[in-house]
Symmetry: C2
Subunit: 203 residues, 2 copies
Amino acid sequence: MKYPGGIKRSNQSINRTSSQGTINNMMNRGMSLEEDINLTNKYYLEMDRAIIHKKPTPIQIVNVHYPKRSAAVITEGYFQRSSTTDYNGIYKGKYIDFEVKETKNKTLFPLANIHHHQMEHMKQTHAHGGISFVIIRFTHHDENYFIPIDRLIPIWDRQAAGMKSISYEKIKEIGEHIPFSYQARVDYLQIIERVYFNNGGNE
Amino acid sequence: MKYPGGIKRSNQSINRTSSQGTINNMMNRGMSLEEDINLTNKYYLEMDRAIIHKKPTPIQIVNVHYPKRSAAVITEGYFQRSSTTDYNGIYKGKYIDFEVKETKNKTLFPLANIHHHQMEHMKQTHAHGGISFVIIRFTHHDENYFIPIDRLIPIWDRQAAGMKSISYEKIKEIGEHIPFSYQARVDYLQIIERVYFNNGGNE
C-alpha cells in the first residue's frame, strides 16, 4: 500500500518494531531496509558510535479534536512529501545525510525512486562538506549497496538524455557492498570509514 | 493552545507562513521564534550559506482512510514527543543541532522548558564534535540569546540540587545576544562564526 508521495505505510510502524529490540532471525528477509537501518542506528546510538535518526514523515494537520481529560486527536491529516532525505546525524564530527531505497527489480534500479528534491538536498549537503549517500537494497538478491552521492550525480544527470534506471551491474560497480552483520544489520559506518576516512574498517 | 509534549499549534502552520516570503514588519513582535528561525533558515538556504531544516513533529498514526481518486486521509493520529531537537543541519562542514524556546517570563527561564531527552541529545552531539546550542527568546524584552550547550550543561546539572530556572541576568551573562536583522531575522550563524570559528562575524 503506497501513500501519495511514495511514503510507505511501514514508515509509521517502525518505531514500534525497532523498540522491541529482539531479532529472531539472522537473515534480512522479512524486514524492510528501513527497519534494518533503524535497528542499526539504534545500535550505533547505544554503542555511542554515531547519532543518526530518521526524520518523522511530515503530516499536514487540518483538524484536531481536544477531548476533555485525554490527549488531542488529529482527525484530519495528510501525508506530505519531505523536502529533505529521511536520515541525518553526526559521525566523528561529520555531518551525515542519506536516503534509503529498496527495489524488487532483479536487474535495475529505477531512478524515479529517488525524488529530485532529495537529490538536490544531497548534492547541497555534499557541497557543504557533508557525507551524503544513498543505500539501495535489491530485495531479490538480498544485497545492500552504499552509493556515495558524488558517484551517483553523473548518472543522475544523464536522465535529461533519457536514462531512466541504473543497471544492477552498474550499482555493483559504483557502489560499495554493505555486508550483513548481526548487531549493526546494515553496517554502513564500516563503508564510511573506508571511503571517507581511508580506514580499512577495523578501527 | 498547547498539545501534549509542549508542541504548540503554530508548529503546523509554519510552512504556510514561511513560504509566503513577505515580511511586512521589521519588528519581531507578532511572529513566534520558530517562525523567525524558519525564515532565517530559508534565507540561509537561498544564500547557500547553510542547510538547516526543522524536523517534522512526529505523529503516531492510528487510522488512515483511503478514498477513491483522492489522497489518503489520516483520521486518527496523536502527537508524539520527539526524541531529538527540532533543528539540525550543516554549516561549513560542521554538524549543527539546536532547540529553540521562548518564554513570556520577564525575569527567568524555567528549565522545564527543555526536556531531559533533548538535553541528552545535545550533550551527545556536542561530545561527537557537533555544534549544539539553545536559542532562547524573552518575548517581553524582545531579545534572543544563543547559549552554547557546554555553557548550559553546568547549570542544567544543578537541577538535581533543586534549581528550577535560570535568571534573565544569568542568560545575558552566559548567552550571546543575537541581533535582529531584516533578512536573517535571528542571525545565529553570526554567533556560530564568532564562538566556534573565532571569526568576528564579518566573513
